[in-house]
Symmetry: C2
Subunit: 373 residues, 2 copies
């Protein structure tokens, strides 16, 4: 099929809103639904590009805020962009830095053009707004850049949510109008907290601006799971069917499946890499604390039947020992496993959408996970 | 050539005492001179077995003291030995734990049968002597086990050195008489500090016991370089030409070359892996602090011309950024490079011995290294 649109819709589930798609980017094609491991500081923590390749990762996320602070735009520009800096040849999505400015940075001062803040590393005073963010994302040369947005906390009152969405819409326009890297796609972000009518307004105004893709932001920020699904349901119906939809910051298997059922195509999260470093393995049947003493002599793999490098080569007994001794290899092996587990999960999900079994598959996933809780 | 002896002497240098040999072990053949990376806690820090394979590592060292404390003999026995526990299929040499008892452990109490000490981890009271050490090394199933010895500090007076060697000789006999794993070779250790006549006595008495190999211990413990070479020179002439000779705890390129010139065949050291974690790269022209600001925009590899995974794929600029951000990948990439650098160095050295250019090569190494100091 010739590439006429960035996003091809291959299959749509008859029982749910689940979609099987294909997203074309300057550095390659992404099969959706997709999970993107997070490479905050120009590396997916504990992994190298070849591990990600082996783990079937097709796209990773880079954090504009972190990369702006370290190594900074000059070093990235000098290397010819983020892809060549970190030697990652497949697509990269960069966030806008908005989320970090409103969660990590101190002493914020909002202006119509962006936000003054103190770096969480050294207190340096920095200004980041849609123009600065898009300029940095242009330097990074990501395949998908995100519009700069204000991410409100949960809970948040209606008035604040309304004001914030107005700012986010202004910034979305400014982000779209700013110069971009060649071929770089820019996604708009639907905000609005738990207020369905505000999310609808935000979605509709963003769609007027005609972005090549849309994210749903401000979810998975501490709200109950049901609120999260409501926020997704309040946004998706007002987004065009022909464009990819991305829920930011989500990486729990059952939650991703539920969001896909509601028409979402893309996800990212630090979860698989972060909990690996705390000794927790993600499996198809729930999370397993490999550090637990009960695994001390267990010669089985971290997850039965898993084909990842960790599970093919090492026992729970060994991985547990490494974790107990704070050995880097322990963190690495679990990270390899967890990223593999999520990518395999998405592959299963895509196959289920294709052969019309998605709904049953999703219900089975829920059951499997509950068994172990 | 049929395997008649464990050690084959292939070439001997005409100008120096350098030897090119081949050591047969239950898990494979080692080309000597050889450098062994150290895998203290059942992992060469930051590396996995496939990295070591790729780095051409033929044999690694495991630390009996550390493995006795964690995960302990039961867990290792349950896995069927250290090879299968850590999934390393090539040879392993285990030290006896003597060095750690006398350097790491607290509240030591010496007896004729070994040493009581408090674990440096949790203060637990433990007894380790030749019988216990050999039993643990039998459980580990290493290809080469080391006799349990007393390692004296530097400086050390003559009387203490004499007494210590008497103990070490008693323990060497007990180590040799203890049960071993099938095919496991046991090496004796020459001690004696800086006293040439004591070292000679120790070497001669060990040779009477007829070990399949001999180590020179108690060097590189803080003494001046010249003292170290003297200790080697005081030991080697009294060891049989037909057996491998191993200087423990040494991993500096120029020092290994000097020891090989004096007839040494084997080395181990934590140096390449430890300094990697401090941001230092080992190169053929001396050490390089990759963390230094001057490399921030340097797009060259860590070492020009190096074929390791790190140098083939990443720039100094990138590795420096990773180190600055305390990213695991930075430690890993430099560890991969450093182990590669030492193994490549030994390969060069072996080739130089084979084609009769060892002396000139060694002098060139000294010059190259001095240039950068």
């Amino acid at each position: 099929m010739p590439k006429m649109f960035e996003f091809e819709l291959l299959h749509v589930c008859r029982q749910t809103g689940a979609r099987r798609g294909r997203l074309h980017t300057p550095n390659g094609v992404i099969e959706t639904p997709v999970f993107m491991p997070v490479g905050t500081q120009a590396t997916v923590k504990a992994l190298e590009p070849r591990d990600l390749g082996e783990n079937d990762a097709s796209m990773i996320l880079g954090n504009t805020y972190h990369l702006l602070l370290r190594p900074g735009p000059e070093v990235i520009a000098n290397a010819g962009g983020l892809h060549s800096f970190m030697n990652w040849k497949r697509p990269i999505l960069t966030d806008s830095g908005g989320f970090q400015v409103f969660s990590l940075a101190k002493m914020r001062k909002l202006t119509p053009d962006g936000c003054w803040f103190n770096s969480h590393l050294d207190g340096r005073r920095i200004f980041l707004g849609p123009r600065e963010s898009m300029e940095m994302q242009r330097t990074l040369g990501s395949d998908i850049a995100m519009a700069f947005d204000e991410c409100i906390p949960w809970p948040c009152d209606r008035e604040r949510a309304e004001k914030s969405v107005s700012i986010t819409l202004d910034w979305a326009r400014m982000s779209l109008d700013a110069p971009h890297a060649p071929g770089q796609l820019v996604f708009g972000i639907v905000q609005g907290g738990v207020y369905a009518d505000i999310r609808r307004r935000c979605a509709e105004e963003l769609v007027q601006m005609d972005f090549p893709g849309y994210a749903i932001g401000g979810v998975s920020v501490g709200e109950p799971e049901e609120e999260m699904y409501k926020a997704v349901e309040a946004s998706v119906p007002f987004l065009p069917e022909t464009k990819p939809r991305y829920v930011m910051g989500l990486g729990v298997m059952t939650q991703m499946a539920e969001c896909v059922a509601r028409g979402v195509d893309m996800f990212d999260c630090v979860l698989p890499t972060r909990i690996a470093r705390h000794g927790t393995a993600i499996t198809r049947h729930g999370n397993v604390a490999i550090k637990a003493a009960k695994w001390a002599k267990d010669l089985g793999p971290v997850e039965e039947g898993c084909e990842c490098y960790c599970c093919r080569n090492f026992s729970r007994s060994y991985v547990r020992h490494l974790l107990a001794c704070d050995e880097i290899l322990g963190l690495r092996l679990l990270t390899i496993h967890n990223v593999w587990a999520l990518n395999r999960f998405m592959k299963e999900m895509r196959a289920a959408i294709e052969d019309g079994t998605f709904y049953d598959w999703k219900e089975q996933v829920k059951k499997d996970t509950k068994e172990n809780e």
